[in-house]
Amino acid sequence: MSAPKTLPTKTWKSELEGRMPEAMAREIDVFEGQIALRKQGKIDERLFAETRLRRGVYGQRYDNGLRDDGTGPKPLTFPSDPLTKGPDTVWDAPGMQRIKVPYGKLSSEQLEILAELAEELSDAILHITTRQDIQLHFIHIEDAPDMHRRLAAVGLTTREACGNSVRNITACQFAGVCNDESFDVTPYAEAMTRFLLGHPDVQEFGRKFKIAFSGCDDHPCGLVTFHDLGAVAFVEDGKRYFKVVVGGGLGAVPVTAKVLAEKCPEEELLPLTQAVSRVFARLGEKQSRARARVKFLVQKLGIDEFKRLVAEEREALRDDPRWTEYLGNLAILDEKPIRPGGAIPQSPSPRFRAWVETNLRPQAQPGYYVATLTTPLGDLSSDQARSLADLARRYTGDAMRLTVEQNLCFRWLSGTDALAFWEEVEALGLGDPGASTLADPTSCPGTDTCKLGISSSRGLTAQLRKSLPVLAEDPALRGLRVKTSGCFNSCSQHHAADIGFLGVSRNVGGRKVPHFNVVLGGQWSQNAKSYGLVVGAVPSKNAPKAVELLTRTYAAERQGEEAFHEWISRIGKARIRALLESVSKAPSYEEDPSFYRDWGNPREYSTGDLGIGECAGEIVPWVEFGLTTAEQETYEAQDLHDAGEHAAAAAKAFASMVTAAKSLVRHLGGQVRDDAEDVVAAFDKHFVKTELFFDPFVKGKFAEFFLRAWARRSFETDDPERVHALLDEARLFLEACHACYQRVGATPTPITTLAPHAASPAE
């Protein structure tokens, strides 16, 4: 085998230079540097795990280097063993990349890049999640930085797609074209996305924080009630407001969000959210992951006390022009049709007519429709994605949105084009009718790729997709929803389904049998108004029969327009259990061994592949990220100095001091901007004047390096000797910052965070 004669001169970094937003490009460079440092053993694996999670680089099943083949766990060996990318997470093991798609909005160009990345780096599948993200599986971590660059070049980011921060902000897919919305929430969701991405006040959470927008209170699309923070639009006296709810969540124990503000003026939405974030960061649980979501904080404090703290925090916030500047140009994201509107043509095709009935929704704008494509299990191939991007260009423009039911919407489809459009999507295998009906079940990844999966949610859903379309022909059943999660974490949002399933394991005759708990009576309408309850478990292989039993009985016994959840409530749990009795027992292994294997998996069922989920992230104080970044900046400064770029080296050395000082200030809960002047003032006030930075031997000497460098503008020099001295001082200052952090600890007493803005320029 011959080696290439030359090293590659082209890199994605060089090819895309100038096409990525500068800040994103810089962050990706830093992440790439951290990958290199981890490979050299210079970053702790726990810290690195949270670092990559905050870049959306997630673990995947078997990434502990073990796989159960049905007879017990067997080792998977990799070239980089024993290097890890997190606790019990093997470096070379494939992982999942989550890509944020704020409020699900995708352009053709973005879809094409996603298609390219999926086929080059993954398995040619783009998976749509229940939170309007895209996930790619079987990714190698070393491919991540270039992937992030290619995404950044088309305006997509993976930042904070996982980890303990603000996740993708979701919104109703009909926003802006809906017949009965109060107003278009799109620009508000966009503004909040931009405002919170990387914001210092959302870096110290003990768990993730999910935000959703809804344009109205009545319809389910926004699902705000099970979000950490939800905003529901309404208009009063011609002025725009949001009802803001907080502390909702699904998971093992679903909680309905409480009203934080009945009437939040639009200009107060961002500062209110910032204040909530600061309260959550300051008082939220940090040690016990199981109780670290904001819903537990709201429960612990009570909503009234939570409101009081938020109001107090809001009063103390420093003004930020970003809170309101977007309000002056709300129309900037308005979409325009590219074809004249019109009526839907007649067609003899019964499939087309069925598709029109369930998958086409008239827009507020006459002659236009939202077309929803049902994507089986949320999966699109790269070839399909490219074809869809082409369709968007020809029929609708860049007006696609992903939905929380794992589908893809095309907005602004002219009725005149409906038949031609459907014929093209039908040819792609995406023309099935039944969107958002019983025929369109939702599933989390489950045991296919998730470390927490207990039963095969995708396997069951694939099976249900064969039987549900028949049941959905009954108009009484068509509107029902079925959602399946592989475990109790409710990623499919099964609590809000009419019929939900969550994976569990049961022992039968000394063997494990995959089961699903049956959750009944959830209400998808009115923004997921109520949650279903577990009525019992059925073997995985009997779950389709359970659906058939329940739906057929409901159809037969329904009184008038009685909804499914009303029927469940009327007949009671005892009757439901009796109904399910015939499908609740697994036969013995000897009678039918297929019950001892999960859907689509020939291995004898076990829970041996269960791992520790990374959804909760690693609890790493944000200051540690800051100090690591500062460390990296000192390395870069040294490299610049060695290369003779002394002025750049001086600037970088001082930047590392600013980064470290800023991290310490924020660690104490102080509000500080990114600019050096603000950081120096805050550091001086909270660490130097208080002597908190002083150590027993040299007192405040190293702090003086920082303050003096600022006062003398040492970072503006290009004199090699002075730059060399600055490099030494930066290094010493950084060491002192580490020592100071160790003294104050991971959970320090916060400084007076609520001091009024006028009290100090740094507060």
């Binding site: 082209k10 090819e15 078997y62 599948i125 191939s381 689509g600």
Partner: protein, 183 residues
């Protein structure tokens, strides 16, 4: 060579199926067994992913560390596809040689699986270069690729071939290899 195609790392080679489409219920257990018995000695096989529900998609995947196998349904034509994805020593020619060797080895293994009924031809082969940095899908790069593919394919398949451009403009750089007509 004016392009940097020699640095392209990710390559795919697909042999098309002959006869009936394989049943996924039959193939999935076979690939799970290959993982258990460590069928590929110089690589680690990790998992099986079933995308049979996606029309003309990647079909059923056997995911490995260095290379994946697919019972691929792309173009609406099922076939056995190998995706050599991780970098290793050598240039594009070496990677293509490796991919051809792997796909032909997998072909013989699958065809020997009892009850599966797998048959794959070698008169027509699809080669795709999944590396848009070093192998953009343009005329100049294809001109650079074609002679390498021809040479590697003829050596691997043992007969003369013709190489033509394949795929779509926005898809990856692709070449179709066909047995050359006898003179």
């Amino acid at each position: 060579m004016s392009t940097t195609i020699e640095h392209a790392e990710r390559v795919q080679v697909k042999l098309y199926g002959e006869g009936a489409k394989l049943s996924e219920e039959a193939l999935v257990p076979v690939w799970h067994r290959w993982i258990s018995e460590r069928r590929v000695e110089d690589d680690t096989l990790i998992d099986v992913a079933d995308y049979g529900h996606v029309k003309d998609g990647p079909g059923i995947a056997l995911i490995g560390h260095g290379a994946d196998f697919f019972y691929d349904e792309g173009e609406g034509r099922p076939g056995l596809l190998i995706f050599r994805k991780r970098a290793f020593e050598g240039d594009l020619r070496a990677r293509l040689e490796d991919a051809f060797a792997r796909v032909l080895r997998a072909k013989s293994w699958l065809e020997a699986e009892p009850g599966l009924g797998a048959r794959f031809g070698s008169d027509e082969v699809l080669v795709r270069i999944l590396d848009r940095l070093h192998a953009p899908n343009d005329d100049a790069t294809f001109e650079a690729l074609a002679p390498i593919v021809r040479e590697v394919a003829e050596k691997a398949l043992g007969h003369a071939v013709e190489v033509s451009r394949a795929g779509t403009p926005k898809g990856p750089l692709s070449a179709r290899v066909r047995r050359a007509a006898e003179a």
